[in-house]
Amino acid sequence: MTSLRELAHARAGDKGGTADLTVIARDAAAFARLRVQLTATVVAAHFADLPLTAVDRYELPQLLALKFVLHDALGPGVTTTLSLDPHGKALSSCLLALELLDPAPGPAT
């Protein structure tokens, strides 16, 4: 297993009840791997405890970046939250805790 923190850095933002996470790969090889492994489904499953209604993913290959939009992650509808971190600023680091399966080694030559 490899932690996402070893492959990428990340930033969290918020607008109303929607959180957004930018994941930027450290190099092209890491981006190629994240493009395959870090799907919207994987991110949604990692944040299964949040009141998410949908996760959108956007790819920005020239920036080695993936953008995730976590709808209603910070509070559905009219935004009120009792959370200690109402903006979800810590979510970027929480995502970097994600462990990714290492690719299977290629056939022996």
Binding site: H9, T18, T22, D56, L63, V78, T79, L91, E99
Partner: protein
């Protein structure tokens, strides 16, 4: 070429990096961004108590540090620090100028308050449209040294001085694309230059205690170079620029501002030297016919209480504390809309799956509840401080607070019925 400095990225931001930019940065304009989503509503509450209040509480301190140096160098200031009361904020700027013995012409941009246009005004504290930069351009054209606004889209605060300097048409999308993208990059100040970025051992950033704030050089075609001053702390490179480019962006092909909708999908960053990065590939199309409006409504009170536990078994004692408070509050029959119990150090700001959960050396219980009744909110905190003598062993550092809760919602309003205007204050 003009140079814009980002002198503040939020209400409580540092002031000394802005002074450094003014003194050493050869700026033409200094932009101070001081309004988060909820800020105007909080200031509106202050204005309800005092008709002359309702603007940024640090405005006097910022102007005392920045106004005279800016005026002496011909640096013009644009700021949204007017919050819920731009006219009173403009008067304060003029007062600071009088005290310093320097003449100043201040423009207050009015008209973002659209409360009167709302169909449903129940429980509404404030409703402000995100204005574009048009009124700021007008104010600068008419000789304002300082432009004070309420809600204006952050990127538009920065693009307006370029529109003024180069006389671009409001539909010059290629030029506006660069200026608005530069504004988006600069709007959180230190977040472009290494703030909100360091993760020691993985992402190392030098000199965060002396973090330099960014500037943007914008040419007459909308070409952009962003940078920070030599000798300042922090870092600016493709990594920090990429993080900030995509910050609080949803669909990168359609980042909506009131002045243009930006397409960020072809943007790239080319480092020029240790302190400067060229921004390429900016694109924009016409904005929507509506403006975004943030509506803040009363949502009652929040009562909070916290208490710490340490040493062996601290997690079990924290769980017991939570159990006691939950039983007493839920069994009380008091009107509580929502109750939340967190264990700081374990699961308060951490969300998501973690492989291992080991007991920390200490843990802090936080209980918070939303209620329509202020007295009930006080009671929530008292149930936590009550654990001192009635709860688990070794509970320490208990404290409680009560605050007013605001709820936010977004609406859209026809841009043609929002008509900003300018009030002038001179000293």
């Amino acid at each position: 070429m003009i140079r814009l400095g980002a002198g503040a990225g939020f209400a409580d931001d540092r002031i000394d990096p802005a002074v450094d930019l003014v003194e050493r940065g050869a700026l033409d304009f200094l932009v101070l961004e001081c309004l988060a989503e909820r800020t105007i509503a909080l200031r509106q509450i202050e204005r309800l108590h005092d008709a002359d209040a309702g603007f940024d509480p640090w405005l006097r301190e910022r102007m005392t540090a920045l106004l005279a140096p800016c005026l002496a160098r011909g640096v013009r200031i644009v700021t949204n620090a007017g919050a819920a009361n731009p006219l009173s904020a403009a008067r304060l700027v003029a007062a600071v100028a009088r005290e310093a013995g320097v003449p100043v012409r201040v423009a207050a941009v009015m008209g973002d308050d659209v409360t009167g246009l709302l169909p449903d005004r129940s429980a509404v504290v404030s409703a402000n449209a995100y204005l574009g930069g048009g009124a700021i351009v007008d104010a600068l054209d008419r000789g304002a040294h300082v432009v004070v606004t309420g809600r204006v889209a952050d990127a538009s605060l920065f693009a307006a001085p370029a529109r003024h300097a180069y006389h671009w048409g409001a539909d010059d999308w290629p030029a506006l694309a660069g200026a608005l993208t530069a504004g988006h990059l600069l709007e959180c100040a230190g977040q472009l230059t290494g703030g909100y970025f360091a993760d020691p051992g993985f992402v190392d950033v030098p000199g965060l205690a002396e973090l330099g704030f960014p500037y943007a050089d914008i040419d007459e075609t909308g070409g952009v170079v962003v940078g920070k001053l030599p000798g300042t702390g922090g870092v600016i490179d493709a990594r920090t620029c990429t993080q900030q480019l995509l910050y609080e962006v949803h669909d990168p092909s359609a980042y909506i501002t009131p002045d243009a909708t930006l397409d960020l999908t072809e943007v790239s960053f080319a480092p020029l030297d240790a302190d400067r990065v060229r921004v390429d590939g900016c694109a924009a199309v016409a904005p929507p016919t509506t403006l975004k409006v943030t509506v803040a409504t009363w949502a009652g009170y929040v009562g909070e209480g916290e208490i710490s536990f340490a040493g062996p078994g601290c997690l079990a004692r924290a769980d017991l504390a939570v159990d006691i408070v939950e039983k007493r509050l839920r069994g009380s029959g008091l009107p509580i809309d929502e109750l939340r119990c967190e264990r700081i150090g374990v699961d308060a700001v951490f969300r998501g799956r973690s492989a291992v959960r080991t007991e920390p050396a200490e843990v802090r219980v936080r209980v918070s509840a939303r209620t329509p009744d202020r007295w009930v909110a006080e009671r929530v905190g008292r149930e936590v401080t009550g654990l001192w003598t009635n709860g688990p062993a070794g509970g320490g550092g208990a404290r409680r607070t009560v605050s007013e809760q605001l709820a936010l919602r977004s609406e859209a309003i026809d841009r043609n019925i929002v008509a900003p205007w300018i009030e002038w204050v001179e000293a």
